[in-house]
Amino acid sequence: MNPLALLARLGRTALASLAAVGRAALFALSAFSHMVRPPYYPREFLQALLNVGWLSLPVVGLTAIFTGGALALQIYAGGARFNAEAVVPQIVAIGMVRELGPVLVGLMIAARVTSSIAAEIATMKVTEQIDALVTLSTHPMKYLVAPRVLAALITVPVLVGTGDIIGIMGGYTVAVQNLGFNAAAYLKNTVDFLEPLDIISSLVKGAAFGTIAAMMGCYYGMQSGRGAQGVGRATKGSVESAAVLILAANFVLTGVFFSL
């Protein structure tokens, strides 16, 4: 290929990517501004709280308990190589609270909530329901986007906190039942080892990941193309973007909290 043509193609791709980032950023700003300005839609907000928070609990709980259990087994097996089996409670606690709890809950929310929001809003767009909202003097950003993003911002930290506890209890169960740890000593070691910053970082990550997950669902839904293919693309794009952004945000936030 002609080097100039290759350069042109790279340039176009870079410009298109920057434009997409700009559109998403403007969408996010608009969503936040609609969140704080009336009118508010409490019924839609409560519905979103139920969908994002309460109904995600089973999947979050199952993910956390199995991860905590597996983590305990891994640390015990790995620690045995240099006679450090006793650190299982501490590493499970720090691993779940600082890293695995927020990231896995974030990814599960991306799979469950982002996809559902994107598919729902994209279908509404395809079937002219978004246009109908506008003709009924209702701003789609206020009615559809703001309640969902706010609900995720509030509930995902709670889900992360719950996931952290369930994950630690998963590790505890495996350690006490299978690996011969003393139950009281395990819990004491866990509580003693965790610092307030660990818990704060976990909850802040939860809020950030929840916001990203809901925002991507809403953004891709509102940008959806026509027909079933448009809805499919919007759903796929929303989950991919949310997952990648959650992992990137996790890296940045981990750096901010623990590398300074």
């Binding site: 079937t127 002219e128 246009d131 109908a132 003709t135 009924l136 003097s137 209702t138």
Partner: protein, 248 residues
């Protein structure tokens, strides 16, 4: 009351409206006819501000359509969408009373429900439909609910986007009659877009033929059959031969 002046709209290389001019007098029913993809829906959505024209002016009661309070502007309109566009997550009565449950026209819930049931009756649906969800209704019933929603807040201007598409001839006739009755009863200004010539004859006071992004002919419905316009002649008789290419 509604005036479109030299309105242009393109999507990429596809120039849909190429200087469309149209005037709809207050209290009259205008039907826009034209083939698929000729920009009828784009024209209608441009008036509502759902689509921004590239150039040209649209006036409602002499004021530019984008000026002033948007909510007040939209509160003057009701619209029946082609597929109904009912909100899946809400029961029928909340769809009908959507505007009455929130915003500037908000009423107490019981009053809004009462109005919704009255409007459902007006379009020939029983009160027991009120608590069903849109997915539980047939296509014809969904259109009627859409019609009830369009008239719930008693708008001055009502738009109908392909009101009979997908319906059997009998249900189409019922919807056409309902539209005509309601528009006359409310004294509303109506704009309908359709391919269905039976609808045109049932609903219209005036007809406009849109082709090539411009209005090719407009006049009273009584003159449509003798318009002398080759585009109108071809369209209303459904001929393959004529100035409109059969393959677009």
């Amino acid at each position: 009351m509604i005036r479109m002046e030299n309105v242009h709209k393109a999507f990429g290389d596809n120039h849909v409206l190429n200087g469309m001019n149209l005037e709809i007098a207050k209290g009259t029913s205008m039907v826009i006819i034209g083939g698929s993809g000729t920009g009828k829906s784009v024209a209608l959505k441009s008036i509502l501000g759902l689509i921004q024209p590239d150039s040209g002016e649209i006036y409602v009661d002499g004021k530019p359509s984008g000026s002033g309070d948007r909510d007040k502007f939209l509160a003057r309109f009701g619209m029946l969408f082609q597929g109904g566009a009912l909100f899946d997550s809400l029961p029928v009565w909340q769809n009908v009373a959507f505007r009455l449950l929130r915003g500037a026209l908000k009423r107490p819930v019981e009053e809004a429900r009462g109005i919704a049931i009255e409007k459902l009756r007006r379009v020939g649906l029983r009160a027991n439909v009120a608590d069903l969800f849109p997915s539980e209704l047939s296509g014809g019933m969904q259109k009627r609910v859409g019609l009830a929603r369009a008239i719930a807040a008693e708008p001055e201007i009502i738009f109908f986007d392909e009101p009979t598409t997908g319906l059997d001839p009998i249900m189409s006739g019922v919807i056409n009659d309902l539209i005509r009755e309601i528009v006359v009863e409310m004294g509303a200004t109506a704009m309908t877009i359709t391919h269905d010539m039976t609808s045109v004859r049932a609903i219209a006071d005036n007809v406009a033929m849109l082709h090539g992004g411009v209005i090719q002919w407009t006049g009273p419905v009584a003159e449509m059959d003798h318009s002398g316009d080759p585009y109108v002649e071809q369209f209303i008789h459904g001929r393959a031969e004529g100035p409109i290419e059969a393959v677009r």
